[in-house]
């Protein structure tokens, strides 16, 4: 325990926490995206899938146990990701009390320079998203247990679709830099693997953006009703 605390105290320890929790989030959004595509199977298929998520593991464990395990892991991961990010950001700001008059960059790109702001945006979206589809209090016609209805009714509103598209774009940008960073940060990168991880980042960013965008766009365009 003391060793873990000591590790966390170092900037690299915090980075490792960012990487590992980021990896958890990365894995989760991939599964989430695949699950979303079930919406094309129609109301029955989609609601059945939602039901499956609630009851998976039965009867070995009571209903919703695994769902809650996943939720707790995610909650811890997101919290740790956010807390480390705040601490590292603060360290970064403190490490340069006086900035430059002229700022230019050679290697940095939009994704790497907006990682933190993108993270803030994603965090705010996450709260909205939970209120929208999990708690329902941000959803005008929320019906507990009818996930298909909740999705379809929400995405008939172009404004909502716009918010979701922006959010998944932000996710794509975040992962464009974030996925490669995971491997760099936990030390699994070198000159031979660099192209592999860079490629995975690009594929992940585009794939998740497209995968997540399909559902709201399909609903809005009437492909899914």
């Amino acid at each position: 325990m003391a060793a873990a605390v000591a590790l966390y105290r170092s900037s690299i320890g915090k980075k490792a926490v960012m990487a590992i929790t980021g990896f958890i989030g990365y894995g989760y959004v991939i599964l989430h995206m695949i699950g979303n595509l079930k919406v094309f199977e129609g109301p029955e298929g989609f609601n059945h899938y939602a039901e499956f998520l609630r009851t998976v593991g039965e009867p070995a464990v009571p209903e919703r146990t695994l769902l809650w395990v996943v939720r707790i892991v995610l909650l811890v991961a997101v919290s740790a990701h956010v807390i480390s990010a705040i601490q590292l950001t603060r360290q970064g700001i403190e490490s340069r009390p006086q900035g430059y008059k002229v700022k230019r960059r050679l290697r940095a790109n939009f994704a790497s320079m907006t990682l933190r702001w993108g993270g803030v945006a994603l965090f705010l979206f996450l709260i909205y998203h939970l209120m929208h589809f999990t708690f329902g209090n941000a959803h005008p016609t929320f019906i507990q247990g009818d996930a298909y209805h909740n999705v379809v009714s929400a995405f008939t509103n172009p404004l909502t679709v716009g918010i979701y598209l922006l959010a998944v774009a932000a996710l794509g940008v975040h992962l464009y830099h974030g996925v490669w960073s995971i491997f760099q940060t936990i030390g699994l990168n070198d000159e031979r693997t660099d192209a592999l991880w860079r490629g995975l980042s690009v594929v992940s960013a585009i794939g998740l953006f497209v995968g997540f965008s399909i559902v709201p766009v399909a609903v809005l365009t009437g492909l899914v009703r």
Partner: protein, 249 residues
């Protein structure tokens, strides 16, 4: 060439600084950047003003003493080039150049463009060595090193400790510097015994000096005059995690 220079002038660490504008005429494109500053300084001296203080020594790109942020880029942004090896033909006639010191909490300004980089020395002192005393070592050829490892170690060892990586990093992180030494010694058999201990102590010292964390942006390697690759940081991260997990101290 005619140039306008906006230069950070600061009398000492305790006095606040400001940008001062100078006009410089008849700059030869064959001058190095520092020779251009020499010419300006000669003019200032004869006018009875204090010349601009800047660090420099070998002027052939190897000692690591010089370092100026020129128009927002450490060492001026020419690939693999220190400020002393940057030549004025790299700039355009009539251009305005803004000259700033390395800016980081761990590098306090001493005067004008001179900063205190002793934090980098202290990182090395914390463990950037093989603890071998003079004498009593085996014949050199009893230690074989695979050529590939020797080459990679040399890539990392090429670091000149100029601090441009810190200056360019949006977080003022010293991870490229620290990672370079850890990679150099970690790639060689001679460095294995103290590998865990070394990385733990050096990273501890790096944090203590007030450098920022790494967000993997890569500005450090882009401005590095010796083009130290970014994977030295990955190697350092791995070494630290392994050392912590295996309980090295």
């Amino acid at each position: 060439m005619n140039l306008t220079l906006q230069v950070w002038r600061q009398k000492n660490a305790a006095t606040p600084g400001k940008y001062v504008t100078y006009q410089l005429a008849d700059v030869s494109p064959d001058m190095s950047f520092l020779e251009m500053l020499d010419v300006l300084n000669q003019e200032l001296i004869l006018k009875g003003e204090e010349p601009i203080a800047f660090d420099h020594d070998c002027r052939e790109g190897i000692c690591g003493a010089c370092g100026v942020v020129i128009n927002g880029l450490a060492h001026g942004g020419q690939r693999g080039t220190t400020a002393c090896q940057l030549h004025m033909r790299h700039f355009k006639d009539g251009e305005t150049l803004t000259l700033e010191p390395w800016r980081a909490k761990a590098f306090p300004v001493i005067k004008d463009l001179i900063v205190d980089r002793s934090a980098l020395d202290r990182i090395i002192q914390a463990g950037g060595y093989v603890s071998v005393s003079a004498g009593g070592v085996p014949d050199a050829n009893t230690i074989a090193v695979p050529k590939e490892n020797a080459e990679k170690a040399m890539d990392a060892a090429a670091c000149i400790g100029c601090g441009a990586c810190v200056a360019a990093c949006p977080n003022a992180s010293a991870m490229l510097f620290t990672g370079a030494k850890i990679a150099h010694l970690g790639l060689l058999p001679q460095g294995q015994i103290e590998r865990g201990r070394r990385v733990i102590h050096m990273v501890e010292q790096m944090d203590e000096e007030g450098f920022g964390g790494c967000t993997n942006i890569g500005e450090c390697t882009a401005v590095c005059p010796k083009e130290i690759p970014l994977d030295v940081i990955a190697r350092m991260n791995r070494d630290l995690l392994v050392a912590k997990i295996t309980g090295a101290s």
